[in-house]
């Protein structure tokens, strides 16, 4: 966008919205929206505290474990569905059901099954992330050119070799897109899980802040989470672009 001959960076609009936020905060219209400057000050204040560091650590750990499980199970499952009609028929109805289901409603169930702890949060992360990973891996595998599949067969590739040396790589662009979407959903999963369990991680902090009307703290925490989710998405987007060179030519 150009204004008066100056080229504005894409992030310029963020400044506008930040200014608006500050203004609304300063007008004191509602206790729910404190000025942005106050939030930023609070952010700098709470980030170094041990409570915050602990919450961050637990969140990062449950997130990482959950995502790792979702990828380790989801990608092979998706490839198996893409390659085998029987597996596909068996699993597709469930995957399609869960990918659009309101999964938050399942969290109380997982709480009953796995207790009020990290396990429940990990399970929630897996539940949120895995379905889209499966679906994208499946779509990528179904797009593999039939002649590559025949090539694998005619040069004597075994099942495992075909998976590890061909299918996985041929479907990589879609798999990465799925993982990226899965990670964004996993961020939702880890927060919703923690909020509902509400005795660990950021869920615990949210509980304290909101029950004490510490709005600046609340917003500071939200800023951290939003920024984290956005950075994650952007990083993966860049990674995906690196694989574009062959996805464009693989025919």
């Amino acid at each position: 966008m150009d204004i008066l001959g100056y080229r504005l960076p894409a992030s310029a609009s963020l400044l506008l919205w930040a200014a608006l936020w500050e203004l609304v905060g300063r007008l004191g219209l509602t206790i729910l929206v404190p000025p942005l400057s106050g939030v930023v000050v609070r952010l700098a204040e709470i980030v170094p505290t041990e409570t915050f560091q602990d919450a961050l650590l637990i969140t990062a750990r449950t997130f990482a474990i959950g995502v790792a499980i979702a990828i380790a199970v989801g990608v092979p499952a998706g490839i198996a569905m893409g390659r085998s009609a029987i597996v596909d028929r068996l699993l597709l109805p469930w995957v399609s059901l869960f990918v659009s289901a309101p999964l938050s409603a399942l969290v109380p169930v997982t709480m009953v099954l796995f207790g009020f702890g990290e396990t429940t949060v990990v399970v929630t992360v897996v539940l949120f992330a895995i379905w889209i990973i499966i679906l994208d891996a499946r779509a990528g595998t179904r797009n593999i050119s039939p002649s590559l599949v025949e090539m694998a067969a005619s040069y004597g590739a075994g099942r495992w070799q075909a998976f590890a040396k061909i299918y996985l790589w041929a479907a990589l662009p879609e798999i990465l897109a799925g993982i990226r979407l899965g990670l964004v959903r996993a961020v939702k999963g880890v927060i919703i899980g923690q909020l509902l369990v509400s005795v660990i991680g950021f869920g615990y902090l949210f509980e304290i802040y909101s029950s004490n009307f510490l709005m600046e703290h609340m917003w500071a925490l939200l800023l951290v989470l939003f920024a984290a989710a956005f950075t994650l998405d952007a990083t993966l987007g860049r990674l995906e672009k690196r694989f574009d060179y062959y996805s464009a030519v693989r025919g």
């Binding site: 050119s145 002649s147 590559l148 025949e150 090539m151 694998a152 067969a153 005619s154 040069y155 004597g156 590739a157 075994g158 070799q161 040396k165 061909i166 790589w169 041929a170 990589l172 060179y245 062959y246 464009a248 030519v249 693989r250 025919g251």
Partner: protein
């Protein structure tokens, strides 16, 4: 099966000029897809060490037949024997060259050429040495570290050919390998293929829809009729191979054979 030594220990193949034995024997093969009869009781022999072409109008089942010989498609009836053994799936004595090349886009030329050997767990240094030899053989020296998308169509098919040669199969099955390649490249490619047929002493089975290409390259041409595909005629053009390519294309025997096949096929066009 895992070393090159055992792969090369194939039965010696007779000289190109001597009376050859049969490398591929197709016996009464039929194949139908839902609603379409592709092949009906096809029988043919491919002499060892020679180039046999399957020629016919599109949709005559020539690619299906080639893939049945490759073991990629199961026939409904009939048998295929390659070097005396009945085919019941892909095997190391056969290698396939694909119409659309079927290269790994994420692998460079060396890895693509060595891929058949990689699948057989041949050690890296050994298979790359074999790959280097065949990369030079198909005229791609200097392109070892390029990726398929950096190569032209003709060069990609050379990679496909080198991959098929590198596994040292006795029978090479080529499915319209030059159809996605421009005309100049195609001619150059045909010269190289003739040189390879003479030099490698392998049996080549070649699918094409180009009459000129079939006549120019083949020791034996198998004409297939339109769906359901049946063997219609077997022609053995006896071209004077000692002449230059341009001279061969002006020889009466070349022109007459092309014309005769065209007269046979034109009824499908009209």
């Amino acid at each position: 099966m895992s070393t090159i030594a055992s792969l090369t220990a194939s039965p010696p193949i007779a000289d190109r000029r001597a009376e050859p034995s049969t490398a591929v024997a197709v016996r009464a093969v039929s194949k139908a897809y839902p609603g379409v009869e592709a092949l009906r009781e096809v029988s043919l022999d491919c002499p060892a060490g020679r180039l046999t072409t399957l020629l016919g109008p599109s949709g005559c089942g020539k690619t299906t037949l080639l893939k049945i010989i490759a073991g990629l498609i199961k026939a409904d009836a009939g048998t295929v024997e390659v070097l005396g053994r009945t085919v019941c799936g892909p095997g190391p004595e056969r290698a396939f060259v694909f119409q659309d090349f079927a290269l790994l886009p994420w692998a460079n030329v060396v890895r693509n050429v060595a891929f058949g050997l990689e699948l057989r767990d041949v050690p890296k240094s050994e298979r790359e040495a074999v790959a280097a030899h065949y990369i030079a053989e198909v005229g791609l020296k200097g392109f070892e570290t390029k990726y398929p998308h950096e190569l032209s169509g003709g060069m990609r098919q050379r990679v496909g050919l080198a991959r098929a040669l590198a596994v040292k199969a006795d029978v090479l099955l080529m499915d319209e390998p030059f159809s996605a390649v421009d005309e100049q490249t195609r001619r150059k490619f045909q010269e190289d293929l003739l040189r390879l047929v003479a030099q490698e002493r392998k049996t080549f089975l070649f699918v094409t829809h180009s009459i000129e290409e079939a006549v120019y390259l083949s020791d034996r041409i198998v004409l297939l009729s339109r769906r359901p595909g049946r063997i219609w005629k077997v022609i053995e053009p006896d071209l004077p191979r000692t002449l230059s390519p341009d001279q061969i294309r002006r020889e009466p025997v070349y022109l007459d054979t092309v014309e005769a096949i065209w007269q046979n096929l034109r009824q499908y066009v009209e």
